[in-house]
């Protein structure tokens, strides 16, 4: 979030109202900055035009990395670096390496994906949070509209928010 921005904030109670409100606001050629809610609202992504997250791709790639790392490690250690005779079996063979390969695939895939999620969503323990409204982690949903991006037509926006069922319409400045 950039500094020195002015937002108009509509507060809603019903998640389904938020979705229809977002759709209506957008048909009026007004850009919605973001919606903030206490839980994930189904259908809000489509309403806001958000594309499907590419995190599953990240998970898959990290998983592949895990598989490769695990197989390379085991074949190199058991087959090349220090071959050992264990029960007269082959130095290196695939079947006994599968459990560790599976576990490392899952581990690296999960950690990698969560890491990407943290970075992409800018989640970090020392982050100073700026909330549009203090109640969005409790029971209120908020539609925030950036005044700067909508040529400052603040009265029009406020009326529109009220029309769509907003219980309150506030202004929020971040300095």
């Amino acid at each position: 979030m950039e500094l020195n921005k002015k937002f108009i904030v509509g507060v809603y109670s019903d998640p389904d109202e938020v979705v229809s409100a977002v759709k209506k606001i957008q048909t009026n050629k007004i850009k919605v900055h973001e919606v903030y809610s206490p839980f994930a609202i189904h259908g809000i992504d489509e309403a806001l035009g958000y594309k499907r997250s590419r995190l599953p791709i990240a998970a898959f790639l990290f998983g592949m990395l895990g598989t490769l790392l695990a197989l390379t490690m085991q074949f190199w250690m058991m087959g090349i670096d220090w071959p050992m005779i264990i029960g007269g079996k082959n130095f290196a063979s695939l079947p006994p390496f599968i459990p560790v390969t599976f576990e490392l695939t899952v581990l690296i895939s999960a950690l990698g994906m969560v890491g990407v999620f943290m970075v992409a969503s800018d989640l970090k323990p020392y982050k100073k949070v700026k909330l549009m409204d203090n109640r969005i982690t409790d029971d209120k949903h908020v539609i925030a509209i950036d005044l700067g991006a909508n040529n400052g037509a603040s009265d029009e926006i406020k009326n529109l928010l009220k029309e769509t069922g907003a219980e309150e319409v506030n202004e929020k400045n971040f300095e």
């Binding site: 839980f39 994906m113 969560v114 982690t137 409790d138």
Partner: protein, 457 residues
């Protein structure tokens, strides 16, 4: 619009609204600890203290203080290990597998069940650590690290090493899954916090969560993929634990039925432990509107299904030992049922196979007292299952001159007490300082499955 069955009872009763959810759950975190909490803590810490004494002596003297002998080289330690890992299966099963199946009743129990999983896995990991004798070196020995022997690597053909990877992956992924779910709820506590210190602590824990729709969208995607990864992971962990036994050549261990049988047993005991803990939490923390009789009934149904799978596995084992025509195999099972450890075998049979069948009766599976008692009975039974598999298979060695019995010493009991004390201390701390119910998820279903359903305009 989502279509919700009118046949199913509501998952949240008492006409709760979203802000009621926040208040009900945050009250536990913000208020002073209750008397029953302090009492529970005192008991847990006493167990932990006695156990700590036993542990210090064990680490100082070595594992000779246990009752092991040259015939029974594995007993309570590995029994406790398998028992705790089994208990640790319910949490991720509830949050991952039930998420994939879109079972919304998971939402009010998954948080506590996952916490239970994490603590149970720590308890489990203690035992192989202790058994290695030098706890401070054990963790290093088990990892594929270059070492002073000129990089003599760990043995990747050994199921014990697979266990190291399985348990540590399970622990890490479960903890990450749990934490990701906690972030929005920590933000709720942060925004309600009155004093500076809790604002700071929960502010850091919530990672600057602001509830943006974009973040929620990514969050949902992460939860789904983590569930997809955790599902085979849960099943793999107890499968690999069972390989510790199944890949050996000891009669009674060398069976291909072990992986599914162990996984079913793990879910069985895990759900029983969730039941024990949730019934107490429900009563003490007044969560009756979130953990309803319907939740209890559904958990009991899972207990009866997995309990019956375990029962079928026991009978299959018996049949196959006879049908195999291998005298050693036949003797191992005859000895289990009629040998000197017959009482352990029949305790296991009664607690795991017979008593859970009582849940076929609706009155029993919807009764809180009966569910509580039977959940403890199941966990006793599952402890005996592991004891029976491990000790009865070992104590009659290949040579009759080596036959022996296992008698636990104070230190065997002490170590078990240590893990129990540790588990309950951690769980009580969790129940006090963390949101016990996943508030964000429960709020999301209130509209569709609350007892007062509001219709939108």
């Amino acid at each position: 619009m989502e279509v919700v069955s009118t046949v199913r009872p509501p998952l949240v009763t008492g006409g709760k609204t979203a802000s009621d959810v926040t208040n009900d759950i945050c009250r536990q975190v913000e208020g002073k600890p209750s008397k029953s909490w302090l009492m529970g803590m005192a008991i847990s810490l006493t167990a932990l203290a006695i156990g700590l004494y036993a542990t210090i002596v064990l680490l100082w003297e070595g594992i000779g203080v246990w009752g092991l002998n040259k015939t029974v080289g594995w007993a309570w330690d590995i029994t406790n290990f398998v028992w705790w890992v089994g208990i640790g299966h319910a949490g991720t099963l509830i949050s991952a597998i039930l998420l994939l199946f879109r079972q919304k009743w998971r939402m009010s129990i998954n948080r506590a069940a996952e916490a239970m999983t994490i603590f149970a896995v720590i308890c489990a990991a203690m035992f192989p650590g202790f058994h290695m004798g030098r706890l401070w070196l054990g963790f290093y020995w088990a990892l594929p690290l270059p070492n002073t022997f000129g990089s003599l690597w760990v043995n990747f053909n050994s199921p014990l090493l697979w266990d190291v990877f399985a348990i540590s992956t399970y622990f890490i992924v479960s903890a990450v899954f749990w934490y990701i779910g906690l972030i929005p709820d920590f933000a709720t506590i942060r925004d309600r916090a009155k004093n500076k210190i809790s604002k700071m602590i929960y502010g850091a824990l919530s990672f600057g969560w602001d509830g943006a729709a974009k973040t929620w969208s990514r969050y949902e995607s992460v939860a789904l993929i983590l569930a997809g990864l955790a599902t085979p992971l849960v099943l793999s962990v107890h499968t690999i634990v069972s390989f510790d036994f199944a890949t050996s050549v000891i009669p009674g261990w060398h069976t291909t039925i072990f992986p599914p049988y162990f996984v079913a047993g793990a879910i069985f005991s895990g759900f029983a432990m969730v039941m024990t803990l949730m019934l107490v939490a429900r009563h003490v923390m007044n969560l009756k509107d979130y953990i309803t009789i319907y939740h209890i009934e559904l958990m009991n149904i899972i207990i009866i299904i997995t309990g019956s799978i375990v029962g079928v596995a026991y009978l299959t084992e018996l049949f196959i030992s006879w049908y195999s025509g291998v005298p050693a195999e036949q003797y191992a099972f005859l000895n289990r049922a009629t040998g000197p450890y017959w009482w352990a075998y029949w305790t296991m049979m009664t607690c795991n196979v017979i008593s859970p069948q009582l849940f076929w009766i609706r009155k029993i599976r919807t009764s809180i007292v009966a569910s509580f008692i039977l959940s403890i009975v199941v966990n006793i039974g599952m402890w005996f299952e592991r004891f029976v598999i491990i000790v009865t298979s070992l104590h009659r060695d290949y040579l009759p001159s080596s036959w022996a019995m296992f008698y636990p010493t104070f230190y065997d009991v002490g170590e078990y007490l240590f893990s129990l004390g540790f588990f309950f201390t951690c769980f009580l701390l969790f129940a006090k300082f963390f949101p016990v119910v996943n508030m964000a998820e429960v709020k999301s279903i209130i509209k569709s499955t609350g007892s007062t359903i509001k219709t939108s305009k």
